[in-house]
Symmetry: C2
Subunit: 462 residues, 2 copies
């Protein structure tokens, strides 16, 4: 045991950078873009701002690039800069029950780490919250202590009242191309699911590509949603009880959960045998188990719909039509459900048949909280759910050749990813079932369309 | 930014327990067994002890089990018990360049956390380093602070001089069955790759299964291996330079790397233009880049073979034959190579054709450092490498029906996993290439065998 040592979370992710998506030259570059763009979209949406995002990739040498990203979001107060850019597991989203693309507090610090480790250089930033000055500087990450350090900074006069953030990462051992895994396709997929964002992309050869917004409707800022009693575990209940400021169990149940009225709280008390006057912080494990069992025996309304922001069936159909020119599309947004821990989620799906749909067989397009999942398709529960559908029943003769694109978007206050790289969903039974129902629902419409097409074909050939 | 907060690494993995393998009822139970057994095997091997491991799974209620694991390893000194069982990112393996099944310092703390979160109960332990007393107690994990706490303990007289560790986790929301993903199959696969271990398994219905050892040869304890200059990055060099006690660059190069003699160090100095008298801690990024470029331009002997412990072609063939009774087997152990960071690895592979081989098409059996990879086959680089081989060239007509089992084991001082659950390898070009070469080599032998078989068949049917 003389060798026994602890390490910091940054040391762990530096050694295991593949877990954050920094594996392979093309994916590493796209991951840097992904971390910046998801943060910008989240910050814009939270502040109710129509996103103007630009991404500029410059080639500085062989496998040596600089990625500069600018947004018009809320800006980052100077005192938070070291934590935002240099401290893993620190952020504004991880501990809140809110739909957002980020949820770990690791993303941008990971990009700072990767570029620092490959070039020895800090990350440059420029940010303002819209007040009288703009802060410009460079920041790096102290891996051993998991802390951010501002290397240098200066304050500039903010004459135009600019608000937003610009980040520039320099990285080596990365590569730009226009494959399915490149920054170009990532931004295209991002604009499909975020019709309110205008994204400008400048490629290394100087080509400017504008992904114009197709709606000026700003999605209502996501709202923190309380957990629903279904799916709560005794440990969740105890953790919530230790963090609440409600003095009694009754008030705690009504305040911290959705769908629990005072009448419902009474019902729970009588079913569980735990008094509503009990102080939440003094609940025992047995009490918690009894309350949770009472939840399971009680009828609650379904989770509310206003907290989550799906893309919407119409928007999905519009996007599928404009990118694939299919003969047939069908979309669906299912009702909210819950999985482990009372976590709300909504599944929406779409099918596109014919035109440019399919890639020599079924093509799967996956999103989580409107962020595209480009990598790790093989290890994703969405892929498994798509494969588990018996497509033959819906008129698909050969899954290896059919011109069919399957679109799935999961929105939730906590997306269960398989790894910190956030590109694949872990298997949760409730999510798997919902994806299947959504696809089978669309499948039935597809089967009617294909039957009609076949009839038409047979009539003509008679 | 009023909501900005940091969280501990245990809070992160509690919320994202799926990243540690606690997803689904069957997998969660097997993951608890996996964490305990890999630790026991590691501890036995490090101490040069022939492993005697027993695993006992008891059903206490519906989806409520207790898993008790005992080993005859070195035991855990009392002062380390809180860190071993209750602190994530603390251990004896993460910071050493040594082949071991564990490498993150998270495993057993994850199992403590999962069982505590599902039952509210601490984990029981019994341990002795072989001295006069045995410590018995219970330990839990303080999630907010990522610290272990001994709930209660007592010291017992160690009359028999017993040495080892017993751990008992109680967990809910888990399930025992005998599928491919169950503890039973996990232990069977473990015993195939660890012929020196005797593993006793007691099922919930009381059935005792003995996986007897097939060799009494204790593998030589793994040795810490220094990195090889190929694959080193400037950041690696600077990190090593800041941790070395060598006073000059020359001594640093000779001491901290394999295959660098004083003559080689001279060559590197003249190629890079960096003086050997330079103090390692004062190397700049530019110096480091020049030295690394000089490494790339220098010829070094291949990495040494004595540090890594592959299973061995003979043992693999023996195991494949005894479990699958195939008509044909072919195995290979490739020479050591390096990937990113100068990390040594060896690929060994085997094919088994006929008999019980294959599962309605190619079956893949994966190992890393002799630990079976049961889950996440879809997202693993080994699977991709197996699929990338053109099996038709080796006489395999139909990959969906062929009775072929492909066995791959990767040994390394650092296995690049895709997530902290350690069940799938991330894509590293060098590893992917080596797996392909190993399989193509075995494939050539298979193709000769199948051609022979066909000739025989044709001769007979004339
Ligand atoms: N462009 C930005 N504008 C405003 N705030 C930002 C911006 N980028 C990051 N932040 C803030 O910094 C925090 C840390 O960002 P980071 O990407 O590390 O984590 P995250 O987005 O919370 O989660 P994840 O690790 O899943 O991405 C965010 O939570 C947010 O509060
Ligand atoms: N049965 C055991 N006997 C002796 N020492 C043990 C035993 N189990 C754990 N340890 C010690 O406790 C440490 C922590 O174990 P843990 O499983 O958390 O991490 P690890 O094995 O180092 O890495 P990983 O997270 O990859 O499993 C180990 O590094 C080892 O030093
Ligand atoms: Mg983020
Ligand atoms: Mg371990």
């Amino acid at each position: 045991f003389k060798e026994f040592k602890a390490q910091s979370v940054s040391e762990f992710f530096k050694k295991n950078a593949a877990m954050l998506g920094y594996t392979g030259k093309i994916r590493s570059l796209t991951t840097i873009v992904h971390e910046g763009v998801t943060n910008s979209l989240d910050a814009c949406e939270e502040a109710g701002i129509l996103p103007e995002i630009s991404v500029w990739v410059e080639e500085l040498g062989t496998e040596h690039y600089r990625v500069t990203m600018e947004d018009n979001a809320s800006g980052i107060p100077l005192e938070y800069v070291p934590q935002v850019f240099g401290r893993m597991l620190a952020g504004s989203k991880a501990h809140r029950n809110i739909q957002s693309r980020g949820q770990q507090g690791i993303g941008v610090s990971g990009a700072v780490m990767f570029s620092q480790v490959t070039t020895g250089k800090p990350t440059s930033f420029l940010t303002s919250t819209g007040d009288t000055h703009i802060v410009k500087g460079r920041v790096q990450l102290d891996v051993k202590r998991n802390l951010g350090e501002i290397v240098d900074k200066e304050k500039l006069h903010n004459t135009s009242g600019w608000r937003g953030t610009v980040i520039a990462h320099e990285a080596k051992g990365v590569l730009y191309n226009k494959s399915r895994y490149s920054p170009y396709n990532y931004l295209r997929m991002t604009s499909i699911a975020n019709p309110h964002a205008r994204i400008t992309f400048i490629e290394p050869d100087g080509t400017r590509i504008l992904f114009e917004r197709s709606t000026t409707l700003v999605p209502k800022p996501p709202k923190a949603i309380k957990p629903h009693p279904y799916g709560i575990t005794p440990d969740d209940l105890l953790t919530m009880a230790s963090n609440t400021d409600a003095k009694k169990l009754g008030a705690f149940l009504e305040k911290e959960f959705v769908r629990i009225s005072s009448a419902k709280a009474e019902e729970i008390a009588s079913l569980s045998g735990v008094s509503l006057a009990q102080q939440p912080a003094r609940l025992s494990w047995d009490d918690a188990e009894r309350v949770v069992n009472a939840f399971k025996a009680t009828k609650f309304f379904a989770p509310p719909t206003e907290g989550l922001r799906p893309i919407g069936g119409e928007e999905i159909a519009k996007s599928l039509t404009s990118t694939l020119s299919p003969e047939f599309t069908q979309t669906i947004t299912r009702a909210p459900q819950t999985f482990r821990g009372g976590i709300l989620f909504v599944v929406e799906a779409g099918l596109a048949y014919g035109g440019k749909a399919g890639k020599g067989g079924i093509e799967i397009i996956r999103y989580a909280n409107r962020a595209p999942l480009i990598f790790d398709q093989g290890g994703c529960a969405i892929t498994e759910a798509v494969k588990s559908v018996d497509w033959k029943r819906y008129g698909v003769r050969d899954v290896e050749k059919v011109p069919l694109t399957v679109f799935v978007n999961i929105v939730s206050t906590h997306v269960p990813y398989t790894s910190a790289g956030k590109q694949a969903l872990a298997m949760e039974e409730e999510i798997h079932a919902e994806v299947r129902y959504a696809l089978m629902d669309c499948g039935r419409a597809l089967s009617r369309f294909l039957a009609g097409k076949r009839k038409l074909y047979e009539r003509r050939s008679k």
